[in-house]
């Protein structure tokens, strides 16, 4: 980056011709794809004349289901970039055995930094937030989350963060400090460019969004449950959502603080984390992992929730050991705050402290083990159907145990001293995040897609996708355990041991198969949309679901429930179906109040993006205007008095009776016909 001066600096900060990505052909191509992709999408929307539809039905919507779907769209888009970056890195390592390969070190450094940042903050977090948003209010029998506008603001702050990462591909370079951004390397003395600034503001936007989401979800679960929905009747997915939200509330602030202090160091020459003048970079490592370790469980707990739903639904059995699963989830949530030091065992504490944190880490294996057994016993003697969701869940169970065992190895400080900073660690956490987190999210995506859009996803392409993800994962990461044990450092741009070549080539093949898995997901979506009329499930219960989200039509009406359900059992919907009261008209319908659309959240997102962009490039007027505009949006909103819209009882009754008539004319299908065109979402009664 070059420093600019004079009037130009006043107007455009440090932005100049040098910021354009012409320093390497690969960067140019990457930037062109982003720019052309954005332009192409805009042109396509204009050509289809869908701007108004998009604006009024989606972007300004405060409906928790639509916000959830937008989160997942964002996650899938960013997943594509993350996977492509992963394949680029695998290709570099496969080629760069005693040769420089095709990526210069600086570019390779940017790639592993953006890959990690994107995969955690813009794939995993939006994916789980989206699923919880879509499912949780329906599972507890609520009409929306407690704070619908705040929900939209969280979404648009996350989108702003994601947009800033995409901008960093076009203007300037990203940080080369990894996703954890340790100072002093990320201080301005060592990385004077805009890279770490991009990273700081991207994380700040996303972490504020996540904190707000956590508050919103926790309050929703505490305050919005349907009558009779006691805590020990909550579906397990909602339990995991609750624990994750509480973790978000407590774990995100340390990250916001750590990045804010680093920003003060970089912008105002302060010395929180510098080597000299009283700085203490170990406090950064401490703060970052105070966030970072609970974050691991923020990511994995919702996946555990999805697996619990999938295992019990596709075994047609009550979840085995419900209470033990709940207590295990709570134990994991609390323990997750006691182990952060294991991320820096080798950074100088006394052995006794390391030992204490090592033991705490191993303890987490106990509640997790309880869960694995509970799921196996849920499957035992169930009416098991090998749906795509169940395939992901089975692969999870197998592979996650392997990853967990390597985690126990790493929790032993002396072992950690041997393999820390090697690809053994990389293999371990990918082993937790891909089969654990991502397979959970993909299983949930396949599971709830028919509820969201009213048609099932294509089975064949779903199976191909699942096979590719599973096989690709094994091939890509099992070899890294071997090379890691042999001492191959992580984040290596060039490799000097020719004997690693076969392993790295195998890993490259795995990477390509994962890419094929990603491609299959999109083909599946495309094929399913094309054939949607064959796979419609308007009645809304294609899998003989057990919890309340399946008690509505698919897609559900804006207000979710025609009348709020009375909950009598843990498997609330199954209880209703068994007693034949699932599809009955109500005695009495009431007017329903739902939030009106609002552009406030979009305005805040755009303003926050501008402000962050201004901060990155030192365009001070833009930073101030952006921040001011975000506050102004909040103030303007506070003058809007008419925020709710009433849906008359007659309209609700009409919709309900229409749906019930449709059900009366529908043939219920048995579990054998689940994947056939005959399944329009009415399940044959089990009794």
């Amino acid at each position: 980056m070059t420093e600019t001066t004079g009037l130009w600096h006043l107007l455009m900060g440090n932005l100049s011709y040098d910021a354009l990505p012409f320093y390497s052909p690969i960067a140019t191509v990457g930037a062109s794809i982003v720019v052309l992709g954005a332009l192409g999408t805009a042109v396509l929307i204009t050509w289809l004349g869908k701007w108004k539809y998009l604006w009024s039905e989606w972007l300004t919507s405060l409906d928790h289901k639509r916000i959830g779907i937008m989160y997942i769209v964002l996650a899938l888009l960013m997943l594509s970039r993350g996977v492509i970056e992963a394949v680029m890195m695998r290709t570099q390592q496969a080629l760069a055995i005693q040769s420089p390969g095709y990526l210069p070190p600086d570019h390779f450094g940017q790639l592993f930094s953006t890959h990690g940042t994107i995969m955690i903050f813009f794939v995993a977090m939006p994916f789980l937030t989206g699923l919880i948003n879509f499912v949780m209010p329906q599972q507890i029998g609520a009409r929306d989350v407690r704070f619908p506008l705040l929900n939209a603001i969280s979404l648009w702050l996350t989108v702003a963060g994601a947009a800033l990462v995409m901008v960093s591909l076009v203007l300037g370079k990203f940080s080369t400090g990894g996703w954890s951004g340790y100072p002093p390397y990320t201080e301005s003395a060592y990385q004077p460019g805009v890279g770490p600034d991009y990273w700081i503001w991207v994380l700040t936007l996303s972490s504020i969004g996540s904190t707000l989401t956590g508050l919103n979800f926790a309050v929703t679960i505490y305050k919005e449950r349907a009558p009779g929905m006691r805590f020990f009747r909550l579906p397990l997915f909602t339990w995991t959502a609750l624990c994750t939200s509480i973790l978000m509330i407590f774990a995100m602030p340390p990250l916001t603080v750590a990045t804010a202090l680093l920003a003060l160091d970089r912008y105002l020459d302060m010395h929180f984390f510098t080597n000299a003048l009283g700085g203490n970079m170990m406090n950064y490592a401490n703060l970052f992992w105070l966030f970072g370790h609970p974050e691991v469980y923020i990511l994995i707990l919702p996946a555990f929730g999805v697996f619990s739903s999938v295992f019990s639904t596709f075994s047609a059995k009550r979840l085995y050991g419900y209470k033990s699963l709940v207590y295990a989830t709570m134990a994991i949530a609390v323990l997750s705050f006691t182990v952060w030091l294991h991320h820096f065992f080798t950074m100088g504490q006394s052995p006794s402290i390391n030992a204490a944190f090592g033991i705490a880490t191993m303890l987490i294996g106990i509640p997790t083990g309880v869960k694995i057994y509970d799921w196996m016993l849920t499957l035992y003697r169930g009416r098991v159907r090998f749906s795509v969701s169940l395939l992901y869940s089975l692969m999870f169970m197998l592979l996650f145990v392997i990853g967990g065992l390597t985690g126990i190895l790493l929790a032993t400080p002396p072992v950690d001293f041997v393999v820390h900073n090697t690809v053994f660690l990389v293999a371990h956490f990918h082993n937790m995040l891909i089969p654990g987190m991502l397979f959970g999210m993909l299983a949930g995506y396949q599971f709830w897609f028919p509820k969201a859009f009213g048609f099932r996803l294509d089975e064949t392409w779903g199976r191909i996708g699942a096979a590719c993800w599973g096989l690709g994962f094994v091939l890509a990461f099992m070899p890294l355990y071997v090379t890691g044990l042999e001492g191959m450092p992580r984040r290596s741009q060039e490799i000097f041991q020719p004997q690693f070549a076969p392993y790295l080539l195998l890993a490259e093949l795995g990477g390509l198969i994962i890419l094929a898995g990603l491609f299959s997901l999109f083909v599946q979506l495309w094929v399913s949309i094309r054939r949607r009329d064959h796979n419609r499930v308007p009645v809304g219960d294609p899998w003989d679901g057990r919890s309340l989200e399946w008690a509505n039509p698919a897609p559900p009406p804006e207000y979710n429930f025609f009348t709020l359900p009375q909950v009598e059992d843990r498997d609330a919907f199954t209880w209703m179906k068994e007693r034949g009261v699932a599809y009955l008209p109500a005695q009495h319908y009431e007017d329903i109040e739902m939030p009106r659309n609002s552009a406030t959240a979009v305005a805040i997102g755009v303003a926050a993006l501008l402000s962050a962009f201004g901060l990155v490039w030192h365009i001070w007027w833009m930073a101030v205007v952006g921040l001011g505009a975000a506050w102004a949006a909040v103030i303007v909103r506070s003058f809007v008095r008419d925020t709710m819209r009433t849906i008359p009882a007659s309209e609700v009754e009409q919709a309900h009776r229409g749906w019930l008539r449709e059900i009366a004319a529908t043939r219920a299908v048995s579990r054998d016909e689940e994947m056939s065109a005959g399944n329009v979402g009415l399940a044959e009664s089990a009794s």
Partner: protein, 104 residues
């Protein structure tokens, strides 16, 4: 009607008690420091204890947190928050002082 009035009086009394307790605790804390009523070694501890008691007073009289069944959720959240904050802040102190000690 009488009920409501009685209720109102009861609530007002509770707020007043809380206010007086909070005021008293603050005055005592300031007095301890201003008049050096305790030896220097105990002063800090004394102020901390009074501050903690004041915290409980605020919870009890102003935020209406008590041990009754209807307040269980609030109490649980509060205790959990306390636990996490103790873990995070206490843990940070242990780790950083340990590192500091080993550097000197």
């Amino acid at each position: 009607m009488m009920d409501q009035q009685a209720q109102y009086a009861k609530e007002r009394r509770s707020y007043l008690v809380g206010f007086l307790l909070a005021l008293g605790l603050s005055v005592v804390s300031f007095a301890l420091v201003a008049a050096k009523l305790l030896p220097a070694d105990y002063l800090l501890t004394g102020v901390f204890v009074l501050g903690f008691v004041q915290l409980l007073v605020h919870f009890r009289f102003f935020l209406h947190i008590n041990f009754s069944k209807s307040k269980r959720d609030d109490l649980d959240l509060l205790l959990f928050s306390t636990l996490i904050i103790v873990l995070m802040a206490g843990g940070t102190l242990v780790v950083l002082f340990n590192l500091h000690h080993r550097m000197t």
